[in-house]
Amino acid sequence: MGISDANSTISQAPVAIWSQTDAMHAQVTLSGAVNVHSLGGVWTDIRQKQSLWLGQGSAQGHSLVFDASKVSSLDGSAFAFLIDIEEAQQKAGGQFDIQGLDPKYQPLLREFDPIDNLFPVAIAKPKTSFVVSLGMATQDLWDDARGLITFTGHLSADLVWSLRNIRQVRWGDFVNAAVEAGISALPIVGLVAFLIGVILSFQAAIGMEQFGAVTFVGPLAALGIVREMGPLITAILLAGRSSAAFAAEIGTMTVNSEVDALVTGGLSPIRFLVVPRVLAGILVAPILTLFADVVSIFSSMLTMQIYGVPFINFYNGMLAAVDVEDVLSGLVKATLFGVVVSAMGCLRGMQTGTGAAAVGISATRAVVSSIVMIVLVDGIFAYISYRTGF
């Protein structure tokens, strides 16, 4: 507030002074530079004195005169001030007059007529009942579900089309997306996977040690990592990094009408923007998962050294417990996660509204719906594998 303070100290005397001659007549003397800075406080002060004065006796016939002969300069806020006082006079049925105003300001004084327009009547917002808001929420949910189903249909059709016209896929975009979502994600996936491996085996070992069953921690941790933790942490990291990135990228394109330009050029935005990214998701999710599995198991091995389990014992125990089938099951699941995460990012990007805030909302929605879908797919997959034994 340094600047406004500096300005208010320049003008020592208040720029408007109230004086009352009798019950029916009052005058405001303006002086100096009346501007947005010098009016701070003065405006409120004059307005309060006016209200008090108008409140005395019958309001009819109160006459207020502004003396503007000592004014050195006026700015737009001075006119707003005059209009505010004039409107209060009019409302109370009193008179308002300005004397000694430099003729050059006259046109601006009448610029805003009729001044009633500047004082809109506040319209109370109608309250929505619980039933209405519940209905609207249900409608939104239904619309969202329909959007998802339509999108899934379009995406499936365009994916099939792309497989049959493999040369027409935007391989450049695919490579960019795969590098960005895959190779660039290696450090963070490795870091989290390492931590998960340590935590999983350490926590298990604390419990198992009491029963002298530390040797079983290796097989247990490895199975959990390969079937569940590996695919899950990879998918959640993909959702946070790449799904949000896809949503922001496509969202900005939507805001800038770039997506509209594709549509009006007769091109399918899904084939152009979504297919390369979903293909990239399909490629990188299982590879990242395999990487996460290896790092996690390695960190688990290191941790078990503390409990005196040699590498070879860990390794043999793991081989006995984990089949190739378990690894494959995890990788198939990871591939599904890859599809879901990249597709949700693209969908939310294409659903972006207008303005800068909309892109942020889309990125948030992309991450949230990706994680919800991951949980859903994981549940369905668990049920199927329980039933079929895969």
Partner: protein
């Protein structure tokens, strides 16, 4: 000439980005209360010059004085004080998308004045009325057209009643009636309230009716090729580039 007669003094200004020089060694001044228009073909550096004038970009060399204060070297509070002495309307409007029009205009008032909320709202409504947007005060920027966004941006630039207003192509994209209304608002503000305007514009009709002085920039010359009253330039300039611009002659005919 007394330095305080000038709202803006430009001294040996070189405009560009890195090693790419757009405009070289510019010298001109804008008088108080003047409507000053910067002309030139696309890509000649008009908008870049404007961004150098109001201190958004640092010039490659030279100085810009706003009311005698050097904006290129000022720092901290001093710089902030210079910054609040002018208002800027950007080419794309640059309204804050998360606020309605009224809040867009009152934002700077909240930070720099001691007015109450009602007083700020009234003042903001006056500004919106000046640009013909009073009925749209509760609209979000995304809900109004591009031309309306520009006008709202002018209202926001005027929020603190600055003495200098920089407008980057204010009438581009406006219909002729709105554009003429805007011109008369600019004239009113300049003649009655003493506002100084620095405007980048291509609209010849608007330039003839409002400009006190124009400078014309050229890409190849990297500098000012004409300076003065637009009508005089149109009628008397011998320079084929200036003649071509003011008389809207197509390139192939001029050659």
């Amino acid at each position: 000439m007394d330095a305080l007669d000038n709202a803006i003094d430009v001294q040996n200004l070189t405009v560009g980005y890195g090693s790419k020089v757009l405009l070289q060694n510019l010298n001109f001044s804008v008088k108080n209360g003047e409507i000053f228009v910067i002309l030139g073909g696309s890509g000649c550096g008009k908008s870049s010059l404007l961004k150098n004038l109001f201190g958004l970009y640092e010039p490659l060399s030279g100085d810009v004085l706003i009311e005698g204060q050097n904006i290129t070297t000022a720092q901290g509070v001093e710089r902030q004080k210079i910054m609040t002495s002018f208002g800027v309307m950007y080419q794309q409007g640059a309204l804050f998308g998360s606020m309605n029009l009224l809040d867009n205009v009152t934002l700077f008032m909240e930070e720099y004045t001691h007015l109450t909320r009602d007083q700020m709202n009234l003042l903001a409504r006056c500004k919106l009325d000046l640009v013909g947007l009073l009925p749209y005060e509760t609209y979000m920027p995304s809900e109004i057209s591009g031309g309306m966004q520009k006008r709202a941006a002018i209202a926001r630039a005027m929020a603190l009643d600055p003495k200098i207003l920089f407008l980057d192509e204010p009438s581009a994209g406006l219909d002729p009636i709105t554009s003429a209304d805007l011109d008369s608002t600019i004239l009113d503000l300049s003649k009655n309230l003493g506002f100084t305007f620095v405007i980048v514009s291509h609209e010849l009709a608007s330039i003839y009716s409002i400009a006190d002085k124009v400078i014309m920039l050229d890409k190849d010359a990297k500098g000012i090729i004409a300076e003065g009253d637009p009508k005089t330039l149109r009628d008397t300039s011998k320079d084929p580039r200036v003649h071509q611009f003011f008389n809207r002659i197509m390139s192939k005919d001029a050659a």
